[in-house]
Subunit: 232 residues, 8 copies
């Protein structure tokens, strides 16, 4: 098999403003996604429709949607499922979930990112268990959920401020753990740099990280781990 | 079962300069590790010996060892296996490997970190396949190894400079992928900040990251993913 | 000839709010340009008109135009060619193109900067070949265009996020290569600092860089290289 | 009383290289301290001796002493008490302790700073209870000491890496709490910036902070709080 | 006594969007607070009402309230006391003040943060003495208030720009001193980083700090010190 | 004479929101100034009126005025002279100018800061000679003005971008030279940090600097130098 | 032709510690280079010898050589030409120069980087004209060399401190211009960040940049431009 | 007169490694200076000797001399006056002082920079009055010297840590004031960035600044101000 044919017509859809990579599912197991930032609502509708046509049997996803884009999608693609908090749209039926990802959030201000993780996990084929508002300032809230979290196939911890949550979690469980820093804080936190640095310097071994507020990338990775781990 | 007994004597070994957490294997599946930085050679020998005594049937690990610490270990714990490049020591027999981690390095200057990943993976119970010097400036070197890498249960990509390797890899495979930035560069790279920022901003979805040069944490996470994924 | 006469009247046009440097074309081969940021629409119209009068046989350029400035230009200088995406205006006839610059963009969000490069290249006297949406997450899209890019006299690679594109390109071709970082990203990217650092730390030798989003300066340099290279 | 006489002879001792502020104890309740950095061993001996002569009934302190300074002090001021880990010297008898400061350390690498806190607390007139190696990666170690810490009049928490310790402590107790970030880490932590940012962004209310590794200033403040709180 | 029961129903109120920690007053002596940023006006009203119901005999506090939230509170909880400058709301009767906190401000631009300190001090049970506009550029204004400040049980110094105030104060008094940097400046001050760095590098020993503009945390700490110090 | 009487009534005017320092002219030779940022239009009017009443024979100044403040001043203090570009107001008659300050600007975008310098120089008692748009990209424009600039008693150079102007000037003249960096640039310049760093690293000896865009402080210093230099 | 065969044996030499990319000259027109940092002297000798064997008719280059590596090369490869200032080694005969690169240095402290540029230019096939110590603090030195510089096919400007040189040069000539920032300064310049920022913010259009002290990359790019421009 | 002759032989001395700018005294009033960093002892001796020959009737200066350079100068130029603390050498007779510069230092650790200021002031033709160890933590020490400082023609304030000294001074006197930040601190102060930022954000108007530890540039500027101010 020739994996990287150059110039062949079949692996790209030319939308004028974008070259959709319809070969990605074959290469990586998951279809391309529409990244909403910097695209007009019309471009987003057009790209999501084209992605769906190329993967009729698999849900496709659009992320980082501004309110105007969400409104346009509601009008032109009424079959799409929209999540305003997570700023996402899903078109088509998600796969049956394989494995479970526990998505653990430190505070209520972290909810939008937590929603981005959860929706992505579903589209990428794993189940999701949301555990909210269990930050370390009230430690008993987290300890009460320890066994539930430890039973998942992968864990995503979402936290802002000083982001102590993943370090505490990392000392309590051995499940693969991804930490998502959020741009939530009370003063000078450099738009989430503090949480990010804290997660990368965790004293608990094996804590993995993504960019600030990047629930999408964490969701992709967690779903991949969970569905491989749990495959029959 | 009472998971967090306070004050009980059985879960901590008091070495005077440290409280060894011998309960960690029960909590997280893997024993504590001796972190060498800031400890004297004598403290490292003493801690490694105590850890080994607490886990006689499982290899234990010491990381970030200065040359003086490695020399002291060679003398006082001749049964230990030492890796000078990775600055690690292993005492006891590693578990039989379950699953495989592909450890992919961009350049020869990244080798020390790649060795830290590889040795850690072994101690934490997975097999390791090292793929070296396949940076993107000579793309054919990486493409030639694509199928080998895609066949692993988890992938760790080690790269410095602009760290393009994980982005290119992330577009070619769907295996869980951890990127380790290294403090290797040709000018002003802020001790690896450039590679770190690049990895966290990867255009490929699902790229996970650890701190600069932190091969240990990447190895822990990769081994956990691999041995869960591959469990029979 | 006395190249730096002091105080002579002929080399500057005094607009009150600005001293137009009408001697620049004689010194450097290209006329001065109107930089729109921080100027009122009326000032921009006045400056562009004066520049045009001083160089009647050569197109003159205005960059970084706010919507209000573009609207005012459309009204008062209907002969000007306006590019809303690139935020540019051109007044007068561009020179016949000498040589070709390939302008290569990683993603659709990079298009505005790519347009700034392309329009500048034209005004500064070279031809332009635009290659869009060929980021490294779908490597086959770039490989398919390799020969087309390698045939240019100069290449400008426009990319945000981790900016791996110029490193991959730099390993595939030997044409002079200018990388333009863009302020496009998915989280904490410091307004393009990540892309900038990545380009300056490219593992491919000979990658040249300009400031974040500075398509104008890249276009000037690329056009100068192309038209010298290709001169008969 | 004239609180700020200018030019009067009685409130300053001129050592040539320094003006000792012998009025400070009257103004603030505690005598001046010799800051060792940037002073020669001879200057340190001379300054400490002069301070002692000015406060014969009260211990005086020198901080941040290089090994050469400690050696010189051992030789010339044999009555001084030296702490090599804390890099401090004390000359004269410390006051009888009033109140208790709990000094809590996350890891063994934090011990030097913890020692600076402890010695300073003593010289400034409070008692000290050291609780070591109770980082959050093994949470049970900290929970086991909770009541002991809660019984103090002030708490100083010393931690590096991601510095989660004060946030967890701040949710468990209501005692005035000072967090000291240390320059201890496993990768890119900017010489303690990570710990510092984390402490300043703690989700637990009322966490106070000092500069990285500045155990001295934390000790001064904690002793002042403790001895006021506990005064009969 | 079992201090950290897991899963028990009595210590948390589930509001759907948040888990109120009603056990905090028992653990730390003060009830939880509603942090307004990132919450809708409706959520803030609901959370403040629930907190008040759980602590009927003790004032509860909401901070960082946007104008819309303040308006909603005025309408739905008319019993609440609102402070627009400090962006705070208080519901219920504050405790009788024990001890006094002097809150000292450098300039008029620092007033909003000074108000946040003062209101918090009251809710957390101490008295407050406000000393405004005594920056060091007119030193006599500060010197005139020296004795008044020195008589407090704790001092909070609020300052922006170069933040020299706490250093000067720290040399004049021995009362526990907390410095709050504000994001006030005349040019490039990095949103208060300058003041923050200055306070952390104070040449006066024992200066404690919180995050930029974080009057709340300073108020909590100062009140705790004052009411312990002054207890009969 | 008693220079720092504490508590005396004569040296401060209490406006409620501010303590006007009416003793400053006696101490430093120039009256206090109203800094507009963070003050309401009403506060600004009130403060400027009070300052004027305290110094009836000397112009007083208000800086950093928002459009609303300028409008309010135009209405309530019609005798005030307003400079919209410089965002300043002057009330009362400026002193007769002693000495001359040359204020040299690199580009048209630097004009607002240049105006702040010029107006301040006048209020603080020196004459001002404005030399605009003489940036180094067209070197002949600057060389043509060299003698004019060299004849001043002090020079203020205002420049953004790479801020090469003061370095070139510093090699051409020996007059005291103050460089003001401006937040003007074409890409990633960190709000003027680039210009600031460049000025502080000037290869020409004796270049003095103030904060970004701080034309006021430069004007104060330049006027003081000029009027001392030129005093008969 | 199949440009990216995967797995074929002919395009890589396996040295154990490195995979030499011997296909690079075919792809980009220039052979691979040995980057000395992080390699042992023995590895450098071995890699340079292998590169030379693969390109017997073309000079090959090793950069960033420590003194120990230079000494080892002098011993084992006596035919190599060594440049201690530029820390380079050349093995084999450089190509006949095509075109000329003017390498312009601001100060004597910039000489090492200037030498790296010059040697690289020669190995990559162009001629080099070195113009030293012409910084802008003595402008006449630069103006005296203007015509000589303007006659080159490409210009490399090497400067530290505030790096005004390329901006001044960019206003005087229209030749393609590459600026190399150096880590030379008099105080806080962040290891060359100042020069780097200044060059990227140059007010002269078309200034291209490389990383701090990266004379090698500038030399590669300049040689490519010069030899294309001047080709017959 | 032709001020910028290009190519004329008389205004530069070619030392091979440097082009001495012997025209500078004519242009700016003061001769060029030898900057020692990055030059060998032999180069420094050679440059200083050449400068002296070109200005036989005027002292010339070399700065930032390493111990090896000072030793070589002592040997080869015994007539030179050496200042080891200030790392300076002076050859020839300084001008008779005109005017006085008060150089005020905050602490003993600031002495080396204070010496650089003082020696430079002398060579550039003004008198110097040193006032040491008057930091604000003991305010009475500074107040006692207020009148002495206010009587100078220019003031240089040298301070590290939080650098409150110039702000306090700036409120007490109206003399032109230059603040020199030093790289002196107790923790994370970014090599003097804290002091630098503080000085640039001073609440006292008219504070001028130079780079960290750059006593030379401050001395040049202060001397120029003083000797102009005081000229008969």
């Amino acid at each position: 098999m020739e994996p990287y044919p150059t110039g062949s017509a079949g692996n790209t859809i030319d939308l004028g403003f974008a070259q959709l990579d319809v070969q990605r599912a074959a290469r990586t197991g998951d279809p391309e996604v529409v990244y909403g930032e910097g695209k007009t609502p019309a471009q987003i509708v057009s790209a999501l429709r084209a992605l769906h046509a190329a993967h009729p049997d698999r849900a496709v996803l659009a992320t980082r949607l501004a309110p105007a884009a969400l409104a346009r999608l509601a009008e032109e693609l009424p079959a799409a499922w929209l999540d305003e908090a997570g700023r996402l749209a899903i078109l088509g039926t998600p796969p049956a979930p394989v494995g479970t990802v526990a998505v653990v959030g430190a505070g209520t201000a972290d909810l939008p990112v937590l929603r981005e993780v959860a929706a992505t996990v579903g589209v990428f084929g794993a189940g999701c268990d949301e555990v909210v508002d269990v930050g370390v300032a009230g430690l008993h809230r987290l300890l009460a959920q320890r066994d539930r979290i430890a039973g998942a196939d992968a864990v995503v911890a979402v936290a802002g401020m000083e982001a102590a949550l993943p370090s505490v979690l990392g000392g309590l469980i051995g499940v693969p753990l991804i930490a998502v820093p959020t741009s939530v804080g009370y003063g000078w936190h450099l738009n989430g740099l503090t949480a990010w640095l804290a997660m990368l310097n965790s004293c608990a071994p094996g804590v993995l990280t993504v960019n600030v507020d990047n629930g999408f990338s964490a969701g992709v990775a967690a779903a991949r781990i969970a569905r491989r781990t749990a495959r029959p």
